[in-house]
């Protein structure tokens, strides 16, 4: 909630002035859109006559009717409780999206014939590459964060150079540099390890900063207290600092996980058969790119929604644990 007070007023969408403005704006927009030769024109045929010949009058009257329907919808939703509002608005937006995709005239049979392979090959590869990278990046981030906080000049210099370099280069470039550059040094690295390495190094750098900020946010007194009790560095970190830093570290880390899942698509340039690669190639022979791209887009979306749900679960866990 923006304001956590108890002042209750009419919802904004029930004020007559705002309703009027909404109707006017929507009418103008719908009129400019020119809906004469769409299905809405057919519905309005009794009023405006032949839709194609009705010109501005047709456009404007369809616009007005559409605007009134939309605004009635908004006003009605305004009466409902918060949770139901969310459900209905989500449902309506989703419906709009689906109509949008439906209007492309996609070949669903083609999607059906390919989707199983996209999941078993594409989603599987995407998930395992992301999972390995996330685990390695977390390890790297803890090491990096400790190094950045240490008083050792070497450790600090290496860690800060690392975060600066890998946050400063585009991830796509890192993928190319590792895949093409390492062999020049004598290491011939395969596509999948090269991709995992690029993702690990890049996200490790971002997560280093997150971990460092989390650890730094803990009051100095906590360190002093545990030091005075004779705790060593490792014990202090494990038992005192990290448990308190976790609630601050987890939410942005979850964000990184979600971002990484999508950035793993960059690995497709070096020929790994993950979801993005298949989205580009499966439709190639039959010239059905839109079908495959939209399918892959929806799969990515579903995957991130799952991750978002997990993230909000974990966040809630830490919120209740810390308060």
């Amino acid at each position: 909630m923006l304001f956590a007070d108890t002042v209750v007023g009419d919802p904004a969408v029930h004020k007559p002035k705002i309703i009027l403005i909404m109707v006017m704006v929507a009418t103008v927009l719908f009129t400019l859109f020119g809906l004469n030769d769409t299905i809405f024109g057919e519905f309005m045929r009794p009023v405006i006559g032949e839709p194609k010949e009705s010109g501005f009058f047709g456009n404007a009257s369809i616009g007005l009717v559409m605007a009134i329907i939309v605004v009635i919808n908004i006003v009605l939703i305004g009466f409902l409780p918060f949770r139901i509002q969310i459900l209905i608005v989500w449902f309506e937006l989703l419906l709009l999206f689906l109509t949008f995709f439906y209007s492309f005239g996609l070949n669903y049979q083609f999607i059906q014939s390919k989707i199983w392979f996209m999941i078993t090959q594409g989603v599987f590869t995407t998930l395992y590459i992301s999972a390995i990278s996330i685990i390695l990046a977390s390890v790297l981030a803890i090491v990096g964060a400790i190094a950045k906080l240490s008083s050792n000049g070497f450790a600090f210099a290496i860690a800060s150079f690392y975060t600066s370099f890998f946050r400063g280069l585009p991830l796509l470039m890192q993928v190319y540099l590792i895949y093409l550059g390492l062999p020049q040094l004598g290491y011939v690295i395969d596509a999948v390890p090269a991709g995992v390495m690029a993702l690990t190094l890049c996200y490790g750098a971002y997560m280093t900063e997150i971990f460092r900020a989390g650890i730094q946010s803990i009051n100095k007194g906590q360190w002093e207290a545990s030091r005075s009790m004779g705790f060593g560095f490792g014990l202090t970190m494990r038992r005192i600092i990290l448990p308190q830093a976790m609630p601050l570290i987890i939410p942005p880390t979850g964000n990184q996980f979600i971002a990484m899942l999508k950035d793993s698509s960059l690995v497709s340039v070096i020929g790994v058969w993950e979801l993005m690669f298949l989205a580009r190639t499966l439709g190639n022979k039959d010239f059905r790119h839109m079908e495959m791209l939209i399918t892959a887009a929806l799969i990515y979306w579903v995957l991130t929604v799952c991750l978002e749900l997990v993230q909000s679960r974990i966040e809630r866990h830490y919120r209740t644990a810390s308060h």
């Binding site: 390890v139 400790i146 240490s150 070497f154 011939v188 999948v192 020929g271 190639n284 010239f287």
Partner: protein, 278 residues
């Protein structure tokens, strides 16, 4: 101090985990024969030369040729699909042994790759949207013309195309485009051209079989005039293994002599593209 040691242990551990699959390059012929597999690099995004078929396996003219080559070498075949610019950049370091990717042996590519033998020739043609007013290739002078980046079509538009293979028919540059738009592949150029005449581009140069395949799949395009040049297409290997080079050349000559190449060409293109056309 203790902390530092831990950092190094961690770092070494990560480095080891990442380098687990490292291998060193050797002589290509020995590698193929000792491992019993021929690793072939092909583009998965280039029907009908190479693409994923209905069973989601690699298929197409190039793929069939690669299978036949492996069969005659007496080894298994395995396909990898790095992007085109990585293949043409050379320095494969033993990642794969051979490219059967309809590659034109240009002078600059010959600096980093060896071309054992040309296995077929395709006509390069100009395509325009079917509403276009252009009547001949030179009508595209000063217009926006698309081609896939780093391809022979791109080089042709830049008037910088040198093909140094025997039996290549001579050609001259017939277009002076106003601007050249580069695409990831030929399909992307066709996708832009289908939007309408001059919406994003006014025309494109691409391989005739690919353009015809697009037209067959309801792309609103039309082929303009005669092919602008014929490109010889060759197998490619990394530099430095003459034994492998000669062996592959022998196999392709054999495949041409016994009609295998002709059969494959007719299977995939409906036309015999395997001999040089005047």
């Amino acid at each position: 101090m203790k902390l530092n040691r831990r950092i190094f242990t961690f770092a070494t551990g990560v480095a080891l985990a990442l380098s687990a699959s490292v291998s060193f390059a050797g002589e290509a012929m020995d590698r193929v024969m000792s491992s019993g597999t021929l690793k072939v690099a092909t583009d998965a995004n280039w029907a009908p030369q190479s693409f994923l078929n209905d069973e989601n396996k690699m298929d197409g003219f190039d793929v069939d040729v690669a299978r036949e080559v492996a069969k005659r070498l007496g080894v298994e075949v395995e396909f990898v699909t790095p992007s085109w610019d990585i293949i043409t950049a050379g320095n494969w370091n033993g990642r794969w042994d051979l490219s059967v990717g309809s590659m034109t042996p240009t002078k600059s590519r010959a600096e980093v790759l060896s071309f054992p033998e040309v296995y077929y020739y395709t006509p390069a043609s100009v395509a325009v949207h079917k509403d276009s007013a252009a009547q001949s290739v030179s009508d595209l002078d000063g217009k926006n013309v698309g081609a896939s980046t780093a391809s022979t079509f791109d080089l042709y538009l830049r008037k910088d195309l040198t093909i140094d293979a025997e039996g290549t028919p001579a050609f001259d540059y017939k277009i002076t485009p106003g601007a050249i738009k580069s695409y990831k592949d030929g399909t992307a150029a066709m996708d832009d051209l289908r939007l309408g005449d001059g919406v994003r581009i006014d025309g494109m140069v691409g391989s005739l079989p690919a353009i015809l395949a697009g037209i067959e799949n309801n792309y609103p395009l039309r082929v303009l005039g005669d092919p602008v040049f014929y490109e010889p297409l060759s197998l490619a290997i990394d530099k430095g293994d003459t034994e492998f080079n000669d062996k592959l050349a022998g196999i392709v000559q054999e495949m041409r002599a016994d009609g295998t190449l002709k059969t494959l060409s007719e299977k995939w293109y409906g036309i015999d593209y395997t001999t040089a056309i005047e």
